[in-house]
């Protein structure tokens, strides 16, 4: 099998998840997360085939879950995945303008990977942090109560 493989711990994780729920299908979400983590932030078709074999679940059904949730990336993303919430509370606090500024600062189009492979900026729906709107998530971290200055400062400091 060419291409993607999980680490030994990853494989262990998948095996234990498979035992954890009433149905094996329930383990698909956590396992896809694991794959995304070990595959530079996205889930490739090859990794779906790999996971399908490992979990003994048809590829079509893994793909159903994968394509349902926007939290899974089906295209490569930059090392830093900047997700700016543009749902109601954030939007009312200027999140859409903020997204444009961030894109301009990084010279990247929304949803695309920057030329140096460093970042991807995407708009997302509510991340459940409306009280501290506007906000964004970069990889696993939340950045809240943003202003354009604070946001751009954070962006500039990305390595």
């Amino acid at each position: 099998m060419s291409g993607f493989q999980l680490s030994a711990e990853g494989v262990e994780f998948v095996k234990s998840e498979l035992k954890r729920y009433e149905t094996r299908l329930s383990a698909v979400i956590p396992c896809l997360y694991r794959v995304q983590k070990e595959n530079q932030g996205w889930v490739s078709p090859e990794s779906v085939s790999y996971l399908s074999q490992l979990m003994d679940i048809p590829e079509a059904h893994i793909n159903e879950v994968l394509s349902f949730y926007t939290m899974f990336n089906r295209e490569p993303v930059g090392r830093h995945h900047v997700q700016v919430c543009c749902n109601i509370s954030c939007a009312m606090n200027g999140a859409r303008e903020l997204t444009e500024k961030i894109c301009k600062e990084l010279d990247v189009k929304e949803g695309e990977v920057s030329k140096d492979g460093k970042v991807t900026v995407t708009r997302v729906e509510c991340l459940g942090s409306c009280g501290t709107a506007p906000m964004m998530q970069i990889n696993d971290r939340y950045y809240e109560n943003l202003t354009s200055d604070s946001a751009l400062k954070i962006i500039r400091e990305l390595k």
């Binding site: 078709p45 779906v48 048809p58 590829e59 079509a60 059904h61 793909n63 159903e64 394509s67 349902f68 949730y69």
Partner: protein, 519 residues
């Protein structure tokens, strides 16, 4: 048994019956898309709503079990209104395709709309556009805009064919049926998805755009494709057959049939048929009416018989004819021609016993069992080698072969022709022209026979189940049945009544005189 009341009618059902099954049992209509008796319950279309006395909210009938004393209805205004709205939601993004959709005339949406249509649509949104005319595989075309996401096709590939190709990808109004990485939907049962798709999302490549279904008539039959003998409906008009679909039989095929079996209409149509008898040999061929050709061949046969004795005539039978035909042919051979040289031509001995675990069997004949039974009854048990030895010794002067009507499953046909090359007279009975026969140097009769759909009779399937069927339609009216052909060969006259009956039946089924339903 549980007692319940459905729309005021008392019904008794076994424990574990769902409400929708109780509706079916009591012969009452209920709107539904996702439920299918051969698949698991999905409960996603929300059309099968019913009101249950004592329950504040409507329930879906497919996923609710009957309890003793339940009082259920689906004819209250509340239920009707919910179904009307449910249907309207299904139609939000449905394209206005009916005029160019192959499902028209047998579409679940059209059918339900007659009763539950809102007629004044209340949806002002633009329709979401999705993929159309997707080449899903060798047999099926997909239109994702027409799909109502009932998931029947997905459940079929999961639960029945167990090939797991299909899934519902993406979310909300962008959800669509697809295969992982657009791989082809390619399994031996794929066309069942087309049958169970309630709308025009999945259509058959072979059938689409060839006929409007409301111009076709249906006849019940048994698939001659293999020894399983799936029960089928054939769809035909005055031009011939257009498609074959499964008919439910719990003991044989359930709700399904294989893709291969659906091709069994092709060798029936005139294009593939021998329309007249061919008499002669490689340097000169003449066309004759089938009946008179059989008579002439019979005269020849009798002549040889008189000079060479009964051991000079042999009969080769394939497993493609009805039990009644075998009995008649074997009987006549024994009584009129005094010959017991009757042999069973097995087309693919290596894979004869194969079985794919679902329906398809390696024995590609519908009636091998029937043939064996008829031979046994007649006390005949001659190995093929016996025929070969006699051919070699040159003692057989006339060979009558009831060749396969489905020639595609007889890959050894040419080889057999070669074996029979030296026989003085060869009388080949079959529905279609036989490749290679025209090069034969010695006297040959090719006499056209009727196919399974053009005659009444029965097949005995692999499990020993005898399944009878009636004449569906006649495609080549001058062709003979095997029994008729052997009767003429044996020098007897045909009883006219049998033919008359068929003609009469045929007239009764006349296309334009059949009663139509109300508009």
């Amino acid at each position: 048994m549980l007692k319940c009341k459905i729309n005021g009618k008392e019904v008794e059902v076994p424990e574990g019956t769902s409400i929708i099954e109780a509706f079916k049992l009591s012969g009452q209509d209920i709107a539904h898309y996702c439920w299918h008796p051969g698949l698991s319950v999905a409960g996603v279309c929300r059309l099968c709503m019913v009101e249950i006395e004592g329950q504040p909210k409507l329930q879906i009938a497919c996923n609710t079990q009957v309890q003793d004393g339940m009082v259920i209805n689906n004819n209250s205004e509340t239920v009707k209104d919910v179904v009307r709205w449910g249907l309207d939601f299904h139609l939000i993004n449905h394209p206005l395709d009916c005029p160019i959709c192959d499902q028209a005339g047998e579409c679940g949406l059209q059918d339900q709309y007659m009763q539950f249509g809102k007629y004044t649509p209340e949806m002002a949104e633009r329709k979401v556009k999705k993929r159309k005319v997707v080449d899903l595989g060798p047999t099926v075309v997909l239109d994702t805009e027409r799909c109502i996401l009932c998931s029947r096709c997905v459940r079929f590939t999961d639960e029945v064919s167990k090939t797991h190709e299909l899934g519902i990808f993406n979310r909300g109004d962008r959800s669509e049926i697809g295969t992982f990485k657009d791989r082809p939907l390619d399994n031996k049962y794929s066309l069942n998805t087309v049958d169970i798709c309630p709308v025009g999302a999945l259509t058959s490549k072979d059938f689409r755009f060839r006929q409007r279904v409301w111009y076709l008539k249906t006849a019940e039959s048994v698939c001659p494709g293999c020894s399983t003998g799936c029960n089928v409906n054939v769809y035909y008009n005055e031009e011939g057959l257009w498609r074959v679909r499964p008919r439910y039989n719990a003991e044989v095929n359930g709700h399904w049939m294989c893709d291969e079996g659906r091709d069994t209409y092709k060798f029936v149509n005139r294009k593939a048929r021998l329309l007249e008898a061919r008499v002669g040999h490689k340097d000169s061929w003449q066309s004759e009416a089938p009946g008179s050709a059989a008579k002439q061949a019979g005269v020849k046969l009798k002549e040889v018989l008189e000079s060479e004795g009964p051991e000079s005539v042999a009969l080769v039978l394939t497993g493609q004819y009805t039990t009644e035909e075998y009995e008649a042919a074997i009987g006549l051979f024994q009584s009129e021609l005094n010959s017991t040289l009757i042999y069973h031509w097995v087309n693919n001995p290596e894979s004869f016993e194969d079985f794919d675990g679902l329906l398809l069997r390696g024995d590609k004949n519908p009636n091998t069992k029937g043939l064996l039974q008829a031979l046994e009854q007649a006390g005949i048990d001659r190995p093929w080698q016996d025929l070969l030895d006699r051919l070699k010794a040159g003692s057989i002067k006339t060979l009558v072969v009831a060749g396969p009507e489905n020639q595609s499953v007889f890959p050894d046909q040419l080889e057999k022709l070669e074996m029979f090359k030296e026989v003085e007279n060869l009388i080949w009975l079959t529905a279609g022209p036989v490749e290679g026969l025209e090069h034969r140097a010695k006297p040959t009769w090719q006499i056209p026979l009727k196919t399974y759909i053009e005659k009444a009779g029965s097949f005995v399937n692999h499990q020993g189940l005898k399944q009878s069927f009636q004449v569906g339609t006649i495609v080549v009216s001058s062709a003979l049945t095997l029994a008729e052909a052997v009767t003429l060969l044996a020098g007897q006259e045909l009883e006219l009544s049998a033919q008359d009956q068929i003609l009469q039946q045929n007239r009764k089924k006349n296309f334009f005189t059949e009663t139509r339903g109300a508009l």
